[in-house]
């Protein structure tokens, strides 16, 4: 086993074989995050998972192996995408019926329902109430057709999509009185 070598400016911890193995594992994990089963992603994205990952990253960074800590932080942030994956799948099914791939769905929702592409999804919730005022609250399915304006989303641009019209279904529900 190697010992720490005194150097100018303080001690530098030597890189040991286990560190290299852990580093390689993190690097492979970062590269192939998509291949990790969803149940592990869900576990990592839970409260306990996040706390555990935080402690591990902190431990690795404080112990002097901050490069491995940095890799662990990247890996942890890549793992925390379970909620996004879930939301994307839901939106994909309910709104686009398979015509659109699932990526950037939330952004598309905001784009479609209210602003014609100028606003990302975080504006959607604020303006949905406004939208509802112009439509009915009967709990029926509402189909809204929105003419596509000239601005293309990055996704549409890369995938060379040429949408002319977008159809949206909104199912309104009401709280039990």
């Amino acid at each position: 086993m190697q010992t720490a070598m005194p150097q100018q400016g303080g001690y530098v911890k030597p890189i040991l074989l286990p560190d290299i193995i852990i580093g390689v594992l993190f690097a492979v994990g970062i590269t192939y995050t998509d291949s990790i089963p969803l149940k592990f992603q869900k576990a990592a994205d839970s409260f306990l998972g996040r706390v555990a990952m935080f402690i591990v990253i902190l431990g690795l960074s404080v112990s002097g192996k901050w490069i491995i800590g940095l890799l662990a932080a990247i890996f942890a942030l890549r793992l925390m995408r379970y909620d996004a994956t879930l939301g994307v799948t839901e939106g994909f099914i309910s709104t686009f019926g398979g015509d659109y791939p699932s990526f950037k769905l939330a952004q598309h929702e905001g784009f479609i329902s209210t602003f014609g592409g100028d606003y990302p999804s975080f504006k959607l919730a604020q303006h949905e109430g406004f939208l509802n005022q112009n439509e009915n609250f009967t709990g029926e399915q509402i189909i809204t057709k929105v003419e596509k304006d000239g601005n293309k989303w990055f996704v549409e641009d890369v995938l060379e999509e040429k949408p002319k019209k977008i159809e949206e279904k909104i199912i309104e529900t009401q709280a039990v009185q």
Binding site: Q8, I67, A73, L77, A84, F103, P120, W153, F154
Partner: protein, 89 residues
């Protein structure tokens, strides 16, 4: 940590230049939602060796300069995240 301090003027200049480039990249691509990544970068993301190479570059930069490492890690993370959002089906 010795790594925090540049060894000579050339080293200091190189760290500054790479840092500024990374900050510029983050401002143009990483932090602007609708910014379009170059098509080659979008296509390359599907290649595992490319992702592994980028992680390797982060490790290399970490062994050189912690500041550059943090910037490059953030750049790579945002790039991966954006490409994930774009290409995940």
């Amino acid at each position: 940590m010795d790594q925090f301090f540049p060894k000579n003027k050339f080293d200091a200049t190189l760290r500054l230049v790479i840092g500024v480039i990374l900050i510029g990249w983050l401002l143009v691509y990483g932090l602007v939602y609708r910014a379009r990544y170059p098509d080659k970068l979008v296509a390359l993301y599907n290649e595992p060796w490319w992702r592994l190479l980028l992680v390797g570059l982060v490790v290399l930069s970490a062994s050189w300069c912690p500041r550059v490492a943090i910037l490059s890690a953030l750049t790579v993370l945002l790039y991966f995240s954006d490409m994930d959002t774009l290409t995940n089906t």
